[in-house]
Amino acid sequence: MRQAGAGGVKLLLEWLDHRTGYRRLVRLALVESIPGGARWRYVWGSTLTFAIAVQFITGIALWASYSANALGAWESVYYIENVMAGGWMLRGIHHYMAHATMVLLVLHLMQVVVAGAYKAPREVNFWFGIALLHLVLALSLTGYLLPWDQKGYWATKVATSIATITPVIGPALQEVLVGGADYGHLTLTRFFALHAGVLPGALILLIAAHVFLFRRHGVTTGGLRSQMDGAGPGNADERDEGGDPEAASARTGIGQFWPDQALRDAVACLTVMAAVLFLVIRSGGAPLGAPADAAEPYAAARPEWYFMFLFQWLKYFPAGTEIIGALVIPGVVVALIALMPFAGKWRLGHRFNVGFTGAVLAGIALLTWQAYAQDRADPDFVAAQHEAEAAAARVVELAAGPDGIPPSGALTLLRNDPLTQGPRLFADRCASCHSYDGHDGLGGEFAEPRTAADLKGFASREWLTGLLDPEQVATPRYFGGTDFARGRMVRMVQSRIAAFDAAQRDDLAKAVKALSAEAALPYQAALDEADRDEIAEGAALMASESIGCTECHEYRGTAEQNLGPVLTGFGSREWLAAFIRDPSHPRFYGDRNDRMPAFGPDEILSDAEIGLLVGWLRGEW
């Protein structure tokens, strides 16, 4: 039975081979003589092919969950990264393998140049290799935009802007790439068609041609070459005629692709994969910034590390010479590399080629290092990067929240989020006079103290205690920089409260608790609840002779005079919004208002923006 079974399989394979000729194909694929034997230094081409195969596998899997439109791209990538089982690993592999491909490309190019593998008869294959390098760069550039996050959006915007300086066709080229005048749906559909269709198709064709020509010429063995050129059985055509390859290798002492080189290649591929997996697991997937926002500047916009040298390079080209830096010099460098096969014919040509490649790579390394060093030393950049990271983390938090992502996209989550918008609005519209914990809301430092109060913790017990402290009331944290520094409130705190006895100070502490409870601050809710009795006592004390708030302020319908802001609901959502809308309203400072603008009536801030600002100041998010 067993024999019959084995015989049956053999017959079936014979039949299949007769109909298809697969054995010859397998032989063509696996049987390759390697003069001088298998070498570790021959693995780079195989690892690159492997890396690209990984990109096809993971890319198609990502494709099955990705949506190329401006209201869904970020959202679908968020879904892959954070919701889909194993999605983070899938995307992580695709992301870091793209990085690995860049490294492997450089190693492969160096190997080819050092070994002189660009020389005749391999010129055409060398050019195919250069074309492949450009295809891979184009794949990286198009892939960077697809998550539609702030980083990819602004970096790609810079890249397509630079495309417009191409003579004659520049603007049309940009418009065709972008799919119109502005970035939007069509930019994504076009970049996706390039990234997942046009470029991979071209890549497959070129790799097939590259491998075919490589097999035709065989490996370049350096020292063995001269012997090989005349008599070597190094190529597939000769091998076919040579009959049994094992016998051939035994005759000449050369190695075989299968299994000697194949084993080395497989080990190298496994090492690459292990390195990529290490990076994926270490960072828990691939980075995803906040969703792209055309109206929100992104000062941390930088390309991926392998394009950083170009980014840095452009800084050195002042007005009018940009085209030289962006197009002419890179074009000349690529042309010189493409002409290496001819330069290699001169006596010192090969040395020149090796030196030139080394110099270009060293220059790229230097520029890359400079770019990162300058960014690290730039406090604005560091701050922008922190802000970007905070926004990225925040939007994921919101998207994972009970309301999820609305159909209008994740950007609306950030646009309606007090924690995100509050500090930006504060920095834009408040920080010319106010500070927040000493900074401008976004962490920016001031050269000199602000004129108006610091609003961190406004209306909290701690904030009010400081306001009623004779030592603090006239400092820049409160009224120090305003007209009120010479006003009644400051005088009252500095004379009357300064003279308080222990019992009065006790009463004052209760009054502070009562006033602060008016704000109903969410982060004080537990304290307000616990101190209910003291707060009731304090509320009564505010109108008492001992504390006497109502001598100048209205509180719960009681007021001797109306000289300061109404204290009923002090610091509450409604009170604070109304105050920002119009501090000169009789309910607040009236005509004693110093310099604070009427943000509502003058439409400096919309009601929605005031709501966000108030929400942030009150810690509501």
């Binding site: 081979d17 010859r24 055309a294 500047p297 000062a299 452009l314 009018g320 085209i323 603008p597």
Partner: protein, 195 residues
């Protein structure tokens, strides 16, 4: 024995496949070849033409007029000679979606007395958003460090920007500041609007 004949069979089979039948007369063969190329080419014409036309479609779209939009109340612009940033909110059609009142960009408004100047925030070098430096003495681009004075003029010979920041037309209508909001092609010495 049964393997060898198969191996030698194959190329013959393949060759026979292409040289089947008697060779055609030379002239007829030439005409047939031309006809085959013409017919084949014609068959591809419609899909290629449609495909290329779709790819180039953005170039066929009508040019958009610059949009005059209200940006801020005049009272909201501090009269301090320092540029302040304002969002530009307008309707925007993005392919198959129409967005009502979408923030599409931003402008710097700089007010001196009753006159207001407007600058597009986009850097004419490579399209980043330009910031006002912390000391409020100049503009600086966070990307390639282009530098401009507060009127938007390039103020540093090493600045990579090929031109001054793009000024925009301003109209004061009643108590509102209206700006003709436009983007311009980056990376060139002349101001050319993006259509």
């Amino acid at each position: 024995m049964d393997q060898k004949p198969q191996a030698t069979d194959e190329p013959q089979v393949a060759e026979e496949g292409f040289s089947y039948g008697p060779a055609p007369a030379p002239r007829r063969g030439f005409l047939a070849g031309v006809a085959a190329i013409a017919a084949g080419g014609l068959a591809f014409l419609a899909p290629l033409w449609s495909g290329i036309r779709a790819a180039l479609e953005p170039l066929e779209r009508p040019e958009l007029d610059a949009n005059l939009v209200p940006v801020a109340k005049l009272a909201a612009v501090p009269d301090d000679g320092v540029p302040h940033k304002y969002r530009v909110v307008m309707d925007r059609v993005d392919a198959w979606n129409t967005h009502r009142q979408l923030p599409v960009g931003a402008v710097y408004l700089r007010r001196t007395g009753d006159s207001v100047e407007a600058l597009n925030v986009v850097c004419p070098h490579a399209g980043c958003f330009v910031n006002v430096a912390a000391d409020r003495s100049r503009f600086v681009c966070p990307c390639h460090k282009s530098s401009f004075d507060l009127s938007g003029a390039v103020n540093d010979p090493a600045s990579p920007s090929p031109r001054d920041m793009d000024s925009l037309d301003v109209e004061i209508r009643g108590d509102e500041v209206w700006v003709r909001f436009q983007n311009f092609l980056p990376g060139r010495a002349e101001k050319e609007p993006v259509v």
